[in-house]
């Protein structure tokens, strides 16, 4: 039969080769996802996926509908209707203790309402519509059993949806991001400013809380686009022009003693901020995620790994995708998953290169992150150097192609698979085909045993 294979060879129409994006062939040994389920239901862009528990997740998007799904079977559990505009924020509020309270989801919408849903029954628990502006972010402080809504002001609610306290009007633009900090504090990104609020029990009642503005941090040159809490001591913010600032979570300074990264700012030519080159859009820090050691930043089309200990970027993939990277997640197994506007999801592995001297790393790093507008030659030279320098590098181990439009977000469910949501209105559950196959066998033989049918043995 091989004799027919005259023109045998790789496919001619390799589109991807045109760009400089690293590609991977069809052989992806390490890619476990060999089976997929398409979950249909949404009628508009799906923007949010939140995990409710081990096997359930919720999706929400511009159609204002929230769906609850079973992550194993792909079964649609509930379809929650209540919002008239697109969903702007969603947060799960799991039960604080083992009382009869069930898991809740809180959703905020552009119709200036917030609805609390019961995940067990799929019913609307309560709806709050007293907002003056759209709530853009929601944060649950599990420890205090309260949740916060951030719009033009910051409100604190308890589980029963009593408004505990609220700040004065902060800004018309509204709070774009919130992160919980130790000592009952939260950091809210309001434009270029980072405002630290502290919640304190009011003196006159046990249920009462007060919220106080503690500090305003104005170190960012542009709007803060993402914020992530690394651990109890550190949190990181990124801005639209590519600044990345590591903050001390306790005293909200970048000169904190625990984090002496910022001390290096004595050198005039080394800014504490990490400025990213390229056009503003290209350098916007879209998303930040972290593990204990590193912060992973989705910047433009690239992915950067910043080591907190070494205080420098240890690995990067300048053009990880054809288009802006929208979401990033670090897996326990040194793998990193990214999704992008180009509709693809890529799986990376952080690998170490032993042979290269560590000294060259900063050079490469700085060249790569380049200050100012480096001309093309310099840029390419830098790139050439960069290719030899990093100690670590991100290796593409697999890609998932399924969505026909931007992949907004994904949710990693461990061995259950990966759920991705996209602007093509779909959610795709990616699964390990081998595992699913053996699960089906298990089900099959269970069913055989149940129905009393003959059980065949070898």
């Amino acid at each position: 039969m091989l004799r027919w294979l005259i023109g045998g060879g790789r496919e001619p129409q390799g589109l991807a080769e045109k760009s400089s994006v690293q590609t991977i062939g069809e052989e992806q040994i390490q890619n476990p996802y060999t089976e997929l389920l398409v979950l249909k239901g949404h009628q508009d862009i799906v923007r949010f996926l939140v995990q409710i528990d081990d096997c359930r997740f919720a999706s929400a998007g511009d159609d204002g509908i929230i769906f609850l799904w079973n992550a194993q079977t792909g079964e649609k559990l509930y379809e929650l209707h209540g919002h008239t505009h697109k969903i702007t924020a969603i947060a799960p509020f799991s039960s604080s203790d083992v009382t009869e309270e069930t898991d809740l989801i809180i959703t905020a919408s552009a119709d200036r309402t917030v609805i609390v849903w019961d995940c067990a029954s799929g019913r609307q628990v309560q709806k709050v519509s007293c907002f003056h502006s759209t709530v853009k972010c929601l944060t649950v402080l599990q420890r205090l059993n309260v949740w916060l809504s951030g719009g033009s002001d910051l409100c604190v609610w308890n589980r029963k949806l009593d408004l505990l306290c609220k700040t004065s009007h902060l800004t018309d633009a509204g709070i774009s991001a919130l992160v919980e900090l130790p000592k009952n504090c939260v950091a809210a990104a309001v434009g270029k400013e980072l405002i630290i609020f502290r919640l304190s029990a009011s003196n006159n009642g046990s249920e009462g809380w007060n919220i106080l503005e503690v500090k305003r941090l104005v170190d960012h040159q542009d709007n803060i686009s993402s914020i992530v809490s690394v651990n109890d001591l550190t949190f990181v913010t990124g801005s639209h022009i590519g600044e990345l600032i590591v903050w001390d979570a306790l005293d909200w300074t970048k000169q904190a003693s625990e984090c002496n990264f910022w001390d290096s700012s004595v050198h005039p030519d080394v800014q504490p901020e990490i400025k990213l080159s390229q056009s503003p859009h290209e350098t916007s820090v879209q998303h930040l995620t972290s593990d204990e050691e590193c912060v992973f930043a989705a910047v433009g089309k690239g992915i950067y790994v910043y080591n907190l200990q070494m205080k420098r970027v240890i690995a990067c993939q300048r053009t990880a995708h054809d288009s802006t990277v929208l979401h990033l997640e670090k897996l326990p197994n040194r793998q990193l998953i990214s999704c992008s506007e180009d509709g693809s999801v890529r799986i990376w592995e952080l690998r170490e290169k032993q042979q290269l001297p560590a000294e060259s790393v900063p050079t490469g790093f700085f060249n790569m992150w380049g200050f100012g507008r480096a001309n093309k030659q310099a840029h390419q030279a830098a790139k050439k150097m960069h290719e030899n320098t990093p100690v670590y590098f991100l290796e593409l181990v697999g890609d998932l192609i399924g969505h026909s439009s931007a992949v907004q977000m994904f949710l990693y469910f461990g061995e259950l698979g990966l759920a991705t949501c996209s602007a093509d209105h779909l959610i795709i559950l990616w699964k390990d085909g081998e595992r699913e196959s053996s699960l089906r066998s298990l089900t099959l033989f269970k069913k055989l045993a149940q129905s009393g049918d003959l059980q065949l043995r070898l």
């Binding site: 039969m1 091989l2 027919w4 294979l5 005259i6 023109g7 045998g8 060879g9 790789r10 496919e11 001619p12 129409q13 390799g14 589109l15 062939g25 069809e26 052989e27 992806q28 040994i29 890619n31 060999t34 089976e35 997929l36 389920l37 398409v38 979950l39 249909k40 079977t73 792909g74 079964e75 697999g398 192609i401 399924g402 969505h403 026909s404 779909l426 795709i428 085909g433 699913e436 196959s437 053996s438 089906r440 066998s441 298990l442 089900t443 099959l444 033989f445 069913k447 055989l448 129905s451 049918d453 003959l454 059980q455 065949l456 043995r457 070898l458």
Partner: protein, 934 residues
């Protein structure tokens, strides 16, 4: 999937020159001797010379009370079909064998006339001179203006092939019952309307008469009544009586559906449901009816004829009025529904009987493979009715074959039961011949619904058919028997070897030899079935007892005379009749083996081929095919004994074998053998076994032909087929819609189904493909266009290239993964000798069946998927699995992936809850693709 590829070589479907084409030598057991007259250009499957019509058709006739039997319409409504066939004459024939005692009148002990809800009678008769054989379905419709309120009609399926009628009797009966039920439903409605109108008129008449009487009373103050007044009073009384009677009639006709409703789901507007009613009908006690009871002449012949409002006392002569047409009798809607059904029947039974039989057999066998049959078969029709009907063409088989067949026969239903998937298949057979009287006696449901009814099988007996004797005779070859006698359970049916009186009885009375212009009633089973079974033999209303006359004119000249006892036996008592008939049976067979025939009818080929090499029986391809199939599974016996909880009745097996052997030895004592063969070879189900098979056949033929062309034309057919078999969507890309569609049709026979839905094949798409499409479709024809949309479509193809194989029909290239296995090579050998599309289709099906059986084994072997002990590591399970695939199943390389994919489909299908469709999965591999060019 069942059929062996090359055994059904002789199907009348393609040009004659193909017939002349010699297949490579077959193994001895598969070979069919050549037709000796082939040199003369004779086609063994050619029409009987005697028949004057070109193909089978359906005739509707009426026994008009004015002009006698007359044909009403034929289906297809084409003068060419009936040709020179004398419809009037044949109508006379078929209408003269209506044995149903349709009767309306005053039954004794009843004050009012009763409407008989007459069950239809089903008769097979043959006219050997005309070369026509017919299944005749008699029914009566109600007409208020008709004599006795009834109008006898009949629908006849007329074929030149007697075997076809006999072997498809049950199917014909079922299908015609539906049509009849539809007609009758509409008729009841129309009749009720008519009655209502009539009642209104009568009411009005009464009022008028009443007023007149009152006026006369007033006018007449003398003490006595004038004759005029007395007349008026009589008239009034008569009208009053009429009203009561008509009311009663109306009540009767209206109560009918409700009575039926009690029996089962009754949807009078759905012709399909006629079957249900038929089902229950067979359960009803027919004893209630006694139509031959001499009733009084219906009074309603005197009923005043209808005038707009006032009813005159004088009745009009029945010849004066114009009878209603069938359409008027039945309501237009129902009439058209019936016509649709009849057209459907015509389509269904078109073609050679061997084809129909093969079809039914494969379906029956397929049915048993409830776990795997969805993969490559169109199971939609399997679900419609329990098609576990088995072949009945036992006449032409050798004794051994019958022997085996009997065992399979009994096996088949059991297998079905044991798989638990088609429980309904053993449900009652809708044989309903009983008279249904509107009596106090409600139809009994005493016979269990679940028991399979066994009709009397006399009409199937070989000997009966062998008895066709003279030219102008019409032989009623068999009618369906009605009543409780028929409701034999399945177990009885499958234990036919007992020397029950029934065995002989089934022959009794069926034997008549006839002279010219006589009507021979070979066996009738009158609808009135009060008669105990043992007396049935004496009942048959043989119309004539004339001695057998050997008529050289007849196309058939078997030699029933070989046993001289035949003719005498008829005049003797029933017992001797039984015996003699049995002997005749044997004698007939012998007679046919003798070479003194002029024009052998292939359809009547009871003659073993060995004798003179004449192929006169339809090929029986299912035998080897079936063995092969079973071989794929644990084995024939293993299937029944080991795999399935229901044991084969070994007594039956051995018994029937013994009997058949003994019958071989001594023909004179073949009673039990024949009866066993007959009872086992009959079908017990009403299954319209090949619904939609006509279209399916055509599709198969075309697909097979296209596929053959494809594998010859495209050197890269193998990887393309591998893509389909391994579940990778194949996109056929091209500008020309016809070409793409042809390719898609060709390749569609290789596409496994994902469930019991339609094949995942999309013939033509013009928009860009999406991921969802690959879940749904496994074979897609895509338009290549220069428009922006076309560019998008191409872009999508390259984007999703991982999930796709792309066959470019324009540039003749294929982009798909490499295939190095061996299965596809057997499946699609470009040097294959197979010429015909349908043969190739069957070849494909047989290989796919092998694959299915492998996938079945792989799927249902526990240890291949799950660890034996809890501590066993996953790796050892994996290695065991791979060993099984490679060594046990003998699969190599990519073949493993095919079986794995099929196994995955089997799993999904098995674990899927019946109600929910389940989410369609898309499984894929990360394997590189290659570009193939011609």
């Amino acid at each position: 999937m069942i059929s062996a590829p090359d055994v059904v070589a002789f199907t009348r479907e393609e040009e004659l020159e193909d017939d002349l084409y010699r297949e490579p030598p077959l193994p001895e057991e598969y070979s069919v001797p050549l037709f000796p007259f082939a040199g003369q250009g004779a086609n063994p499957w050619a029409k009987v010379a005697g028949s004057k019509f070109t193909r089978d058709f359906i005739l509707i006739s009426e026994f008009s009370e004015q002009v006698g039997p007359q044909p009403l319409l034929t289906i297809p409504d084409d003068a060419k079909v009936s040709g020179t066939f004398d419809l009037n004459y044949f109508s006379l024939r078929i209408m003269s064998v209506d044995y149903q005692a349709s009767f309306v009148g005053h039954p004794p002990g009843s004050a009012y006339p009763k409407l008989n809800f007459v069950e239809d009678s089903k008769v097979v008769l043959g006219d050997s001179k005309e070369g026509a054989f017919a299944y005749v379905h008699h029914l009566t419709l109600y007409d208020l203006e008709a004599r006795g309120f009834v109008r006898p009609f009949c629908m006849a399926y007329i074929s030149a092939d007697e075997h076809k009628i006999m072997q498809q009797f049950q199917e014909l009966s079922t299908e015609f019952s539906k049509a009849s039920e539809c007609l009758k439903t509409g008729n009841r409605k129309a009749f009720a309307n008519e009655l209502e109108k009539k009642l209104k008129d009568l009411d009005y008449t009464r009022t008028v008469l009443h007023n007149e009487t009152e006026q006369q009373k007033k006018a007449n103050d003398k003490g006595y009544y004038t004759t005029q007044a007395i007349e008026k009073a009589n008239e009034l009384a008569s009208v009053e009586k009429s009203i009561i009677e008509h009311q009663d009639l109306l009540r009767q006709i209206r109560s009918y559906p409700y009575r039926k409703l009690k029996d089962s789901e009754f949807h009078p507007y759905e012709p399909e449901c006629a079957l249900d009613r038929a089902d229950t009908g067979s359960d009803q006690d027919p004893a209630a009816s006694d139509p031959t009871e001499p009733g009084e002449t219906p009074l309603y012949t005197h009923v005043p004829s209808y005038t707009p409002k006032l009813i005159k006392a004088k009745s009009a002569k029945c010849f004066d009025k114009k009878l209603k047409t069938l359409e008027e009798l039945c309501d237009v809607y129902f009439f058209t529904q019936t016509l649709d059904q009849l057209h459907h029947i015509e389509r269904t039974f078109r073609g050679d009987v061997c084809y129909l039989l093969t079809e039914q057999i494969s379906r029956a066998l397929l049915k048993q493979q409830s776990v795997t049959n969805f993969l490559f078969e169109d199971v939609s029709f399997l679900d419609e009715k329990p098609p576990e009907k088995q072949y009945r063409g036992c006449q032409g088989l050798s004794q051994d074959a019958i022997d085996e067949k009997c065992s399979e026969e009994s096996l088949a239903p059991k297998v079905v039961i044991s798989l638990g998937s088609y429980k309904s298949s053993v449900e009652c057979v809708p044989i309903k011949m009983e008279q249904e009287m509107e009596d106090s006696e409600e139809p009994k449901m005493s016979e269990s619904v679940m028991s399979e009814h066994q009709e009397n099988l006399d009409y199937l007996d070989a000997d009966i058919k062998g008895s066709i004797s003279s030219g102008e005779s019409i032989e009623v070859l068999g009618t369906e028997k009605s009543g409780s006698g028929l409701t034999k359970s399945e177990s009885q049916a499958s234990l036919p070897v007992m020397p029950s009186p029934q065995a002989g009885r089934s022959k009794v009375g069926s034997r008549r030899t006839v002279s010219e212009d006589s009507i021979e009633v070979l066996s009738t089973c009158p609808s009135e079935s009060l008669i105990p079974e043992d007396f049935k033999a004496s009942y048959p209303s043989a119309i004539n007892e004339e001695p057998y006359v050997d008529d050289d004119e007849g196309g058939l000249r078997f030699a029933p005379r070989a046993n001289p006892g035949v003719d005498d036996g008829q005049d003797q008592d029933d017992v001797s009749k039984q015996e003699s008939l049995v002997q005749v049976d044997a004698a007939c067979c012998i007679g046919k083996e003798s070479p003194n025939f002029l024009e052998p009818l292939p359809e009547l080929g009871q003659k073993p081929c060995e004798e003179d090499g004449v192929v006169r029986i339809p090929p029986q391809p299912y035998r080897p095919a079936e063995q092969g199939l079973r071989g794929g599974f644990p084995s024939h016996d293993g299937l029944s004994a080991g795999l399935l909880p229901y044991e084969l009745d070994s007594r039956y097996l051995s018994g029937s074998r013994e009997v058949s052997k003994s019958s071989l030895d001594e023909c004179s004592d073949s009673t039990s053998y024949i009866s066993s063969a007959a009872s086992t070879c009959s079908d017990r189900t009403p299954s319209p076994a090949h619904l939609g098979s006509a279209a399916g056949d055509r599709h198969r033929k075309r697909a097979g032909q296209n596929a053959l062309r494809f594998i010859r034309q495209y050197p890269f057919a193998h990887p393309a087929i591998y893509s389909l078999l391994s579940g990778r969507t194949l996109v056929v890309l091209g500008e020309d819609e016809a070409m793409v569609k042809r390719l898609v049709t060709a390749l569609s026979i290789f596409v496994p189904n994902c469930g019991a839905y339609a094949k995942p094949v999309k013939h033509w798409v013009t928009s860009a493909l999406h991921l969802v499409d690959f879940q749904k479709w496994k074979l897609i024809g895509l338009q290549r266009a220069v428009s922006p949309a076309g560019v998008n479509a191409l872009h999508a193809l390259s984007r999703y290239s991982r999930y796709l194989s792309v066959l470019d029909a324009d540039s003749k290239t294929l982009r798909c993964p490499l295939y190095k296995g061996s299965v596809v090579a057997r499946l699609a050998d470009h040097r294959t000798q197979i010429k015909r599309g349908s043969t190739y289709y069957m070849h494909v099906q047989s290989i796919l069946t092998q694959l299915c059986s492998k996938a079945f084994l792989f799927t249902f072997c526990h240890h291949l998927h799950l660890p034996i002990s809890e501590r066993e590591p996953e790796e050892s399970v994996v290695s065991r699995r791979m060993n099984f695939l490679k060594l046990q199943l003998g699969l190599a390389n990519e073949d493993i992936k095919i079986v794995q994919y099929l196994a995955e489909l089997l799993k999904l299908h098995y674990i899927q809850e019946p109600g929910q469709g389940g989410n369609p999965l898309l499984r894929f591999d990360y394997v590189p693709s290659f570009l193939y060019k011609i």
